[in-house]
Amino acid sequence: MLSIVLFALLLVVAITLFAKRIRFVRKAIGLGRDADFSDQTPLRWKTMARVALGQGKMTARPVAGILHILIYIGFVVINLEMLEIVVDGLTGSHRVFRGIPGYDGLIAAFEILAFLVLFACVVFLIRRNVLAIARFRSSELKGWPSLDANLILVAEIALMFAFLSMNAADALLQVRGDAHYPQAGAFPISQWLQPLYAGLSDGGLVAVERGMWWFHITGVLAFLVYVTYSKHFHILLAFPNTYFANLAGPGTMPNMDAVTKEVQLMMDPTADPYAAPPADAAPPETFGVKDVTDLSWKQILEAYSCTECGRCTSACPANQTGKLLSPRKVMMDVRDRAEELAGIKQKEGAEAEGGTPLTARITEEEIWACTSCQACIQACPILISPMGILLDMRRNLIMEESKSPESLTAMFNNVENNGAPWAFPAANRANWITE
């Protein structure tokens, strides 16, 4: 009875903490500007099914991709077992679903997947910490981000080990004919762990089985909460993030409608340039992006969805040639700033500001190093666009701050005066015909 109460309490605490954190993150994402994604619903579902559910872009890098798919399938399938664990925990039953047909096969499948997950996590730990893979050694990963990554891998290994140990002890108890442990399940993997526990008394085995059961469920619930504070949030957010993905090509920049209005006004000879704006006109928005509040909420969602894999950075031509720019860092900066500002507003009220704005995190040097080649977008397994944020920040630098490298100012002047980025007169445009 005590264990049932304890289990219920644990469940309630975990779900409460999770829900509270989700509310906070929703607020942080909500700091961004409105954006409408109600179009092309079927295509959006299809994109999500292909990219997130189907892991469609993962195998562009085969080693990491296939290992990731193992962990992903393992995670999804083994979590079916959670259903049984929760029912057992709340009712005091043991392996409550053992009567359903195919139960043994299911348990066997869980075991095999648990082993594959364990294997993949070990390889990932080696890749991160032993092999000198450049994208895991970038400066933006120093400290918490790389600890975060390692913690997740170690936690997954521990959880899988606990799951298998639980099964091993259970199977031993089944063989010994313990009344509380009826014959159930097939254990193709954990049978190899049995020698580890075979020397224990019945009481010892029950302690191992229960201990591992509690460790596993506590671990999973703790992980559920931890994930929302971690780069590992992608396991949930990859789904909405791909649903709300940009469906225009990666090379199409979103139009600024406010500017279109201005231009139309300028080109309309009947317009009165001195007319007062209508009384109900919305206050003009900042041009481009200066801080997270100028981003669309979707861009902040992208930042929370980013799992810092660094495929973008390793594909970025600027980064490859030693420039300061790292697309991954852009996403991390956006997330950290959204987190900071949402925290300030939670403490001091919705109007509160402060902290370090985005422009102090992403420098002009980084912003101007982008070649807009879209390699980062192509590389991202969940359709994030670091490039979009950089180009939006350029809009702010130019249209609000009038800050640009000198040569670009000259280019602008040329386009404006000659209709070409170079200082050639338009009259010479057709010279090639006769030259």
Partner: protein, 255 residues
């Protein structure tokens, strides 16, 4: 275009030359090759000449949305004024902007990159390669322009055109979706690079050298500049950098 309109004629296509193709000496040769191909295939075409103006792509990508939209509005006025429906461009940046960014501002056209149009001409039998292929036995590698490839998903047209050259097409390690940028996009062409340990075009030239190709085929005047410089810096002037239009013009004996 103005002359044709005055004569009451409407061309099949408008050839959008682009700024590089109009003013850059190297790119002008590409423009001429495209024009020769259009002539040889019997395509009726026009150019805007003085009435053409920058699409605004470099301004937009450098953050100057206002200037971009001014350019777009002016160009759309001209294009719609002539009732233009079909445009071919010699530059993937113009191609991308006209095709993807003008519709929202009132400019709806069927836009083709010149490699797509050349492919169409060959398929329709309007353009034939001459006997005695100049590229027989050559090793050609194609450098995908970002705004033709990733931005518009066109990887096939340039390759199918190159296939007509009777040469060997060797892909670089990074090609198609994963092709590396030449370093010119996003208005980088018009400014110095940020501090780093090397130039982007030099890094991309390494990919070229790895293939052992003797010809680098390009589909963008800016890539062409970047790759030409890269090959020069690598002191490998035996490697020729040419636009696909130039290669086809040579193979069709139009030079």
């Amino acid at each position: 275009m103005a002359e044709m309109t005055a004569e009451g004629k409407a061309p099949e296509v408008l050839f959008w030359v682009g700024c590089a193709g109009s003013f850059d000496d190297r790119a002008k040769r590409i423009t001429k090759a495209i024009a020769k191909i259009l002539h040889a295939s019997g395509t009726s075409f026009a150019v805007l000449g003085q009435e053409e103006s920058c699409t605004g792509d470099p301004a937009r990508r450098a953050g100057n949305e206002f200037l971009f939209q001014m350019q777009a509005a002016m160009n759309i006025q001209v294009l719609n004024g002539y009732g233009i429906q079909r445009i071919i461009t010699g530059c993937p940046h113009c191609f991308n902007t006209l095709r993807n960014e003008y519709p929202e501002l009132g400019g709806q056209y069927e836009v083709m990159h010149h490699t797509q149009f050349i492919r169409e001409l060959i398929e329709q039998g309007k353009l034939r390669m001459a006997d005695g292929q100049p590229f027989k036995g050559k090793r050609i590698t194609f450098h995908d322009p970002c705004y033709l490839g990733r931005a518009n998903g066109e990887y096939l047209a340039p390759r199918e055109v190159i296939a007509k050259l009777d040469a060997e097409l060797i892909e670089m390690r990074r090609c198609k979706q994963n092709a590396m940028c030449c370093g010119a996009g996003g208005a980088q062409m018009f400014k110095d690079a940020e501090k780093g340990n090397r130039e982007v075009n030099v890094a991309r030239t390494d990919d070229v050298l790895e293939t052992g190709a003797n010809v680098v085929a390009t589909g963008c005047p800016f890539c062409n500049t970047m790759m030409t410089d890269g090959v020069k810096l690598a002191e490998r002037e035996d490697i020729v950098v040419k636009d696909i239009a130039e290669l086809i013009a040579e193979a069709a004996d139009l030079v």
